[in-house]
Symmetry: C2
Subunit: 415 residues, 2 copies
Amino acid sequence: MVQAARQAGTAGRRAVFELFPRRLPQGRRYGVVAGVGRALDAIEDFRFDPATILALEGVVDADMLDWLASYRFSGDVWGYAEGEAYFPYSPLMVVEGTFAEAVLLETVLLSIYNHDSAIASAASRMTLAAAGRPCIEMGSRRTHEEAAVAAARAAYVAGFDASSNLAARARYGVPSTGTAAHSFTLLHDAEADAFRAQVQTLGVGTTLLVDTYDVAEAVRLAVEVAGTGLGAVRLDSGDLGEVAREVRAQLDDLGATSTRIVVTSDLDEHAIAALAAAPVDAYGVGTQLVTGSGHPTCGFVYKLVAREGDDGEMVSVAKRSTDKASIGGRKYALRRRSSSGVAEAEVIGIGAAPQDDGDDRALLVPLVEGGEVIGRATLDEARARHRSSLAELPRAVTQMSAGEAAIPTLHLEPR
Amino acid sequence: MVQAARQAGTAGRRAVFELFPRRLPQGRRYGVVAGVGRALDAIEDFRFDPATILALEGVVDADMLDWLASYRFSGDVWGYAEGEAYFPYSPLMVVEGTFAEAVLLETVLLSIYNHDSAIASAASRMTLAAAGRPCIEMGSRRTHEEAAVAAARAAYVAGFDASSNLAARARYGVPSTGTAAHSFTLLHDAEADAFRAQVQTLGVGTTLLVDTYDVAEAVRLAVEVAGTGLGAVRLDSGDLGEVAREVRAQLDDLGATSTRIVVTSDLDEHAIAALAAAPVDAYGVGTQLVTGSGHPTCGFVYKLVAREGDDGEMVSVAKRSTDKASIGGRKYALRRRSSSGVAEAEVIGIGAAPQDDGDDRALLVPLVEGGEVIGRATLDEARARHRSSLAELPRAVTQMSAGEAAIPTLHLEPR
């Protein structure tokens, strides 16, 4: 496309692309934006090194290879801050540059946003369902090895407390926490040997896995080995609520009243909610988190909404189609809020910013200016944004049942 | 775990781990193994470089860091060949080494197998449904940016013809093919300008996207610009079967009888099957492919099944649990076939290989010996394996409806 546009003389036209969802996943009341920080890294790093240029020989012509070799995004980007809630048609990212510069970013930006936001959207429902009990990300082995690192990061944005993924700790500072596998117990001649080895190395504050053989016997052994100061026990099978109640009673009887109970085993937001009344102290979540709990991608698209015409003026453009219509024109967005601070609508202006009624909040922040990243936020800022964004949404967002978007999306008439 | 086992003196015990599925995804009749080649790369490359060691300071102790710095897998691996069909409890990979060496590979091996096999399993059903018509992988932007490259590779193993992912071309030699986006048409002042620019650069053999505005008008323009030698047109919205029939009639009327029709738009195996009678020449598949068509992960697990005891003898081990039971002991597998070569059962021997009845096929091939990769296959060999493995399965595998596994899994008594 870029090569053809260059030959046609249109590649340098100013262009505005918009990254947005046409809808929320079926039944979801809100989504959560994640991947913004990774996308900014990707824009900064988007270069074609000599090896890549070599690999593209035969795909594009020599003139195009030269252009790619010196590629550097020099445009502007605005977007929703990481951790922000989103709704259908929220203009999550607005990219302005030449057509050639901006169109090349389509795939990487969509990949990052579609993946990371799918994980964060699921993670947010899980942390809501956990109602303050810590959630631990443990899904690395159920997704692509690099997606796993991004998933740990996105889950942390949406309120998870820690991850078992050490690369996420190294790259992004996501707190890490570990677990022992059944293989560790099975390696040893007796369960008590495994517990002793673990406590000797990691201290009594460690979490012992107690469901390899008989749970009650393992709990007895665990307290015998570690003492009543044992940090936690983990349950990974059976009726978790029922077993947790039995184990809590047993721990209390043994005097291990502050030993916590961590549960894992194909948890999702519904299973977490169902355990609300059980004596569970933390949830370890794997498969359902890293696969977006039924919605592994957000279906975001990246569409050209405005471009320069022959006369140098910007023109709104959109595909005309019955089932996949887009709305042309540069978008602006604010979250309309009541005087008491409750979100009421996602208001999208076309060609001009919607007017703030006094209690509203503008949603697009500058991310890149003239090719320079200016909107970087820390993960802790993203976590805080997630918390505050959720706090202002109507109470319906806490419902795990399927429903409509928590607030409507309103498009203002183009100005 | 490794640090604790090292301190307890058990880390050096010989261990046999098995990577296997407990079940097929709900309703699926078979699965397809993919990621073997990537897993072999990962085993070869599994080292802890100085930066990684630095990042692990504080996580493990200095002695453990020293051990990690010199880590190199020196054991043996057997597995199903890439492209092979699998069934519940198929022992897809058997890893033997010291506990410490083998347990460290768990996450990366599961990540690769769980992801790549999920994609290949979905892709295989799609290529079956396409019944010989080419399928093109176009889902990069709907999944994590690195998962996208692996997905393109896995789809190719399972019969896809090409991918739009150029990194998959560079890294793995997956044939690439492109498409123009609606943005390319919208960039230009008139649809005919966009078509002219594309044909001028890519020749009349290119594929023109004809549903940005009015399909009939675009088809007319496309043939006017490119001539009757136009390679193909692409449809990305509407009732694809109906529109394809109209476009075919129009192309034929215009004399463009050999111009092909490529369709895209949220296709899955069912949508592909439903278009069997429509004049469609190729399918471009995105979201549903890269998300495993409802099953984004295979749920493979990696379990310790045997390990050395105090006396140096190997002991079979397994978790005792009601809902997540494993079967201890080293596994061997063959596909039992009738005298006419039709697969009848997945036969799994525990501790010894099942006897070949004369028409059977052993399924485990040596992949790594003493740390050296010896079982590398080309992607074309994996594609051929996929075709021949499917060809010997009962005809039921071609049914897109939900059903049971195409063949039963039989465990022989341990010897």
